[in-house]
């Protein structure tokens, strides 16, 4: 049978560069779909031979969106090598910076990249289906989204002097304290930030109500979930232990130390993507797909740490009677619940009397040959694993990135949505936008760098099995 293929290249409004191939049979039905990540970075290899203490500086450069998460996973691995712990105040400041990054990333994902689909519609003019289109039609929402991102970045800037590739998170603690002036300036942002997150929450809830059927059926394949939780199972981003949950909500593993990650996670390479396929080892490759990120974190968590977020969390939990919610669309909602928790938690930390203390660093030196650290990046659990020689020079680096762990599920979701929406000979741009939006639900961080909106062309080519072009759609 002659096959036709649709290439979506590149996938737009995501961080990084990727393509999607949709294969169709003669009847115009989707037979397969593949999500390709066509970038190669090589960090694990070229970091070999460097001093382990350089990793908190090198690895944030992996990503312009989640550099703080990389730094945190990296310093924790370094602290394991040194056998030391950060000071109380350093932990507060790290949490604050991590919250800032999470807020900034979630604001970018929701307001800048995804809200055009919700507010302007999936089938609206692609030229305006972006943050500029939102600014034109809903200027207040666009401004609020931009300012929420600014607040997130200011949380880092007011501690370390830099907004993005932050410095100052060092093994043993922090290099810079928080001044009283900066503490007050950050506190002043809190009411506005809470209002903005709640405005986002209203948008997504309204969309859920008006599109209940679509939301309920959009990429709903059940998977396992992995997330970090506190000692009582509470939602946690910065420091905690790991929890695996199955599709029905049964806790498979709880309070695992991040250093045990290789006992439970294995990876496999595929020939169509540079992104590897991690899976839950005890269930094997075919049944061990698991997801990480906001949806996974809220699925595995027993409760939130803050009041307003807890109220939303309870509503979220009721959606599937306390069992995990599988629909990829709920990533957006859970992202906003997390953002709400972030702002409330930032307020709590900024009111801690110890937050401006100058006791911010413990000092250590190389003691052990191996270090493993983890943190919850905006897109999910992140692991850094280093092995060194007896002088501290790196012999092995393994980085297990959040998006990588969502890769098998993203691929499956793309197929599911393609089967649902792409049909027949007359392929409409709106159909393909729905396929792309599946990827946007996961907010993947592929190259971990942003690109300017509106400058990214998209070409979709429908070819027959021999590669002969049957149809070409262009988006500028």
């Amino acid at each position: 049978m002659d096959k036709r293929r649709i290439f979506i290249s590149p996938v737009t409004r995501i961080e990084g560069h990727a393509n999607i191939t949709i294969e169709m049979d003669d009847n115009g039905n989707v037979s397969d779909a593949l999500f390709h990540v066509n970038e190669f970075r090589g960090f694990e290899k070229f970091c070999e031979g460097r001093m382990y203490t350089e990793m908190p500086t090198i690895t944030p450069r992996i990503c312009g969106i989640c550099p703080t998460s990389h730094t945190l996973a990296s310093v924790k691995a370094c602290e394991m090598i040194q056998g030391i712990q950060p000071t109380y105040t350093a932990n507060l400041l790290r949490r604050l910076m991590h919250i800032g990054q999470n807020l900034s990333s979630h604001a970018l994902s929701f307001f800048h990249l995804s809200s055009p689909d919700f507010l302007l519609g999936y089938d609206s003019d692609p030229a305006k289906r972006n943050i500029l289109g939102i600014a034109e039609k809903y200027p207040d929402i666009a401004l609020r989204g931009i300012r929420l991102r600014k607040f997130g970045q200011e949380l880092s800037e007011r501690i370390t002097g830099k907004k993005i590739h932050i410095m100052g998170i060092v093994p043993g603690g922090m290099a810079y304290p928080l001044t009283e002036d900066n503490r007050k300036a950050l506190l002043a942002w809190i009411p506005e930030a809470i209002e903005t997150v709640q405005a986002g929450m209203s948008i997504i809830k309204k969309f859920h109500e008006e599109n209940a059927e679509m939301v309920a059926s959009f990429a709903t394949s059940p998977t396992l979930y992995l997330g970090t939780v506190g000692p009582d199972g509470e939602h946690e981003l910065y420091d905690g232990k790991l929890r695996f949950m199955d599709t029905d909500g049964t806790i498979l593993q709880d309070q695992l130390l991040p250093r045990q990650y290789l006992e439970f996670i294995a990876e496999r390479s595929v020939n169509w993507s540079y992104l590897k396929y991690p899976y839950y080892k005890p269930f094997g490759f075919d049944k061990g797909f698991y997801r990480v990120g906001p949806l996974a974190r809220l699925n595995v968590a027993s409760r939130m740490r803050t009041a307003l977020a807890q109220r939303e969390f309870e509503q979220f939990k009721q959606m599937n009677n306390g069992k995990p919610v599988h629909g990829a669309f709920y990533f957006h909602y859970t992202r906003l619940i997390e953002a709400l928790s972030d702002v409330e938690d930032a307020e709590r930390i900024l009111n801690d009397p110890q937050v401006t203390s100058t006791h911010i660093q413990h000092h250590g030196r190389w003691n052990y040959e191996e270090g493993i650290g983890s943190s919850e990046a905006p897109r999910g659990t992140l692991f850094h694993h280093y092995k060194t020689d007896e002088t501290g020079k790196l012999k092995m680096v393994n980085l297990l990135i959040a998006t990588g762990q969502n890769n098998p599920s993203m691929n499956r979701s793309v197929l599911e949505v393609a089967k649902q929406y792409v049909k027949g000979d007359d392929i409409k741009e709106g159909m393909l936008n729905r396929v792309e939006s599946t990827i946007r639900c996961y907010d993947p961080c592929l190259s971990c760098s942003t690109h300017a909106i509106g400058q990214m062309p998209m070409v979709i080519e429908v070819k027959d099995k021999k590669g002969v072009l049957l149809k070409r759609l262009e988006r500028n």
Partner: protein, 239 residues
């Protein structure tokens, strides 16, 4: 007749200056607030004219001469900022960056680096020469310090300070051309050196992130190259 018996007159950049004979052009320029770019010069140790950044034009001399190794002479006319000199400074700076692997963003010396400052001063926005991308070792064998040859510009300030000020002569130079390398003892790991006293003067002398303490990360590096000359001067004091 000159009324100051021990001084001479020279002209630098159209500015007439009285100075002591025996000084270098660089010393006179620095005393009179005339900016000259340097990388290998370090006050307190001998100048060797290695980096070629301080080249100046001297009237009557065809070739450019290094200001750090050329002594002033009576009625000398010197120019430090002609287009020709600026062109060579730019070329030299580009070659520094092209020769080894300088990645400022992840370097421990980011923001505290003389090479980075030099790049900003000459307006380095791109490099016209192909990068060599040599495979350089990172010597982590010393218990306290790291020697990263990727970031070394062969100014040899570490070699001179170790020899002339500390008197240990742990550091030296081997090979030629772009194969040239700083070595510890007879090219053995720094941590196995029989001569290094672990004094740390090389760390303060190093203008880049090539030598740095293991205990710190980016943003924490503190270098004090002026300390070298202070030591030298204090040793001259008679108690």
């Amino acid at each position: 007749m000159n009324c100051y018996m021990n001084t001479i007159s020279i002209i630098i950049d159209d500015q007439k200056l009285e100075t002591d004979p025996g000084k270098t052009i660089l010393e006179v320029c620095r005393e009179n607030g005339i900016d000259i770019l340097t990388m290998c010069h370090l006050k307190g140790v001998l100048d060797i004219g290695a980096c070629r950044l301080c080249l100046v034009e001297i009237e009557g001399v065809n070739k450019l001469l290094s200001a750090c190794t050329t002594k002033v002479a009576a009625n000398m006319i010197v120019r430090t900022n002609t287009d020709r000199i600026k062109k060579y400074q730019r070329i030299t700076t580009e070659l520094f960056f092209a020769e080894r692997n300088h990645v400022c963003a992840v370097c421990v010396a980011n923001g505290k680096c003389e090479l980075q400052d030099l790049g900003y001063k000459v307006g380095l926005d791109h490099i016209r020469y192909p990068h060599l991308f040599p495979q350089c070792e990172v010597d982590t064998s010393h218990p306290w310090y790291v020697m990263d040859h990727n970031r070394c510009i062969m100014c040899t300030r570490c070699v001179r300070v170790c020899n002339e000020v500390e008197g240990a002569h742990n550091w030296d130079v081997m090979n030629r051309g772009h194969q040239v390398r700083i070595i510890s003892d007879f090219n053995s790991p720094w941590g196995e050196s029989e001569t290094c006293t672990s004094c740390g003067k090389c760390l303060h002398a190093c203008p880049t992130g090539a030598i740095w303490p293991k205990a710190i990360v980016q943003g924490q590096l503190q270098k004090n190259p002026g300390m070298i000359n202070e030591l030298v001067e204090k040793r001259k004091m008679k108690l």
